[in-house]
Amino acid sequence: MIMWQMWIDMHLARYFEERVQWLFSKGLVHGTTHLGIGEEATAAGTIAAMKSQDYVFGTHRGHSQAIAKGIDVKYMMAEILARETGVCKGKGGSMHIADPDIHYFGADGVLGASAVMCVGTALATRKRKEEDRISVVFFGDGTSNEGATWEAMNLAAVWELPVLFVCVNNTYGMSTPIQDVMKDTDIAKRAYPFGMPAKTVDGNNVLEIYHASVEARKYVASGKGPMLLVENTYRISGHSKSDGNLYRTKEEIESWKEKCPIKAFRMYLIENELFTEEELDKAAKAAADEIEQAEEFAKASPEPSFDDLMNDVYA
């Protein structure tokens, strides 16, 4: 069941983003969007190990995180196309996809901000004595250098809050390779000064991520305090629409396409005879259809009305 879910989530994410990329190239998407093609296992594997009541904070590259958390891709696509039916009513866009109804507190445009707010949801959970509910924050390798990230780790640690810090390490912050901005690129060591455990996994191996996340959740939910998971992966897509890929080689990108997390997972599922080729293809096709329907739904949806403009500025 879990494997099936991860297989579907990874496909939904891949197809969703490929479609957004295409729509973008046709000039149908306004603004900008950050795609995480190649990183799908991190979201699918981590969130599969969480419970639906857990709070999740995503990144600006968060479409796959929203999908794994259970967002309806129809409403996410409508948001990207700035429609009234969008999950944020057309007011947020790709960089702010969120759905608090499913405890997904979304993408944020200011790096580091999610980590500190995540400490807050964990604090509330503890104050209300809620058991078996943790708060998860995804952030990039680049964002791990942000002061707010360090402050969040310290506060969560010293207050022993149920926070799971998940660093999606794709080895670049925009165009900047991590070795240019970190003396020691072993990000897991950053947990050490806060007395918090850390684990590093292959971020293109969804099963390894899943198992590590199950263990991590168990630890965090037990009340011992936060934990850091570092998931090493690679962003195949450019940083955003303005990326000319001048900071990396074609060969490097190609070599990571070989390590595609979806391909690897497929091989595992077939070799271990967990599913047949046919079953997997059928599920992938269903995911593709769902994205196609989402696009149709979005395109058929109206633009937001001017009457709605000033709503939600204040509660």
């Binding site: 306004h30 900008t32 200011v110 901005v181 500025v313």
Partner: protein, 324 residues
């Protein structure tokens, strides 16, 4: 003269100053190979090398603070913030440190740092990447605030800002980066605190800056077709503010509309209105001072909603007409 873009003008100003003065260096996120989010620093890494074109970690407090420190001991850093909205992440450095060091230390240090950052909306970047936050910067004595509206102004003002001995916030306009204009081939600078009358007129003054200058000029053009002759004053810097040019213009036209892209409520237009009201120009006014800024609303993603939030040529035209 040659025709270049606003982005190129900024690039040229930085390059010329870096050649002229070796204490000038440039740092920020992804400014080297990536050339910044808007490609402003294209070619600079090749020209000046990694020691002077420095990619920083994503740590705004650290590198903005480091800029201040380096400036205190004789360097002239140019620091880029990828989007002006991120100034909030390093607000302490920009508010409590850079503008106050000289005064607090009895005039014994200076902070000759320029912070360049793309500001404003119109690109569909939504609520956290589209703001115009200049009014809050103008509020802090010790900080200068510059917003150029043309390639010519951008180059001349940036060169002056780099040579200035004070911290200068240089707010560039995202939607202007690709616009073109004529720039002299020989060296020139423009002093801070001198407004530029971009169009001279007799019936109403539009006091404005940044992206709204072009829109105001378009509005003036349309109004001219109806026989209304509008003057457009581009203040170019909020601090120092060219009080004299504003007052002279208002005395001449007896009507004034202040236009800015920032949220109208609490925006810099209130200050300009106050300056006019406190001056002798007040007695010349034939109508109340009018302001036009953005609605009190975070910037929405949807392009039509976004447009509805900001001033437009149509709105400017309507406001001027209602004044006369």
């Amino acid at each position: 003269m040659k025709e270049i873009t606003y982005a190129q003008a900024i690039n040229d100003a930085m390059c010329e100053e870096m050649i002229r003065d070796e204490t000038v260096f440039f740092m920020g996120e992804d400014i080297a190979e990536y050339c910044g989010a808007f490609g402003v620093s294209r070619g600079m890494l090749e020209k000046f090398g990694k020691d002077r074109i420095m990619n920083t970690p994503i740590s705004e407090q650290a590198f903005v603070g480091a800029g201040i420190g380096a400036a205190m001991v004789g360097m002239r850093p140019i620091v880029e913030l990828m989007f002006s909205d991120f100034m909030c992440v390093c607000f302490d450095e920009l508010v409590n440190e850079a503008p106050k060091m000289r005064f607090m230390f009895g005039g014994k240090v200076k902070v000759p740092m320029v912070m360049r950052t793309p500001s404003g909306g119109g690109t569909g970047a939504a609520a956290q990447h589209s703001q115009s936050l200049e009014a809050c910067l103008a509020h802090f004595p010790g900080l200068k605030v510059v917003i150029p509206s043309t390639p010519y102004d951008a180059k001349g003002l940036l060169k002056t800002a780099i040579r200035d001995d004070n911290p200068v916030m240089f707010l560039e306009q995202k939607t202007l980066y690709r616009t073109k204009g004529m720039v002299p081939e020989e060296e020139y600078t423009i002093p801070l605190g001198v407004a530029d009358v971009k169009r001279s007129g007799t019936d109403c003054s539009i006091i404005t800056y940044g992206r709204m200058v072009q829109m105001s000029l378009e509005a003036a053009q349309r109004l001219m077709e109806e026989g209304i002759n509008v003057e457009v004053v581009d203040i170019r810097s909020l601090v120092p503010l060219d009080h004299k040019t504003i007052i002279e213009s208002v005395r001449k036209t007896r009507h004034v509309l202040i236009v800015h892209e920032a949220v109208q409520f609490g925006g810099f237009g209130g200050e300009i209105a106050g300056q006019i009201a406190d001056s002798e120009a007040f007695y010349y006014l034939d109508a109340p001072i009018r302001r036009l800024g953005a609605l009190s609303c975070p910037i929405p993603f949807n392009p039509n909603l976004e447009k509805a939030v900001f001033p437009t040529v149509e709105k400017i035209v309507a406001q001027v007409k209602s004044l006369l």
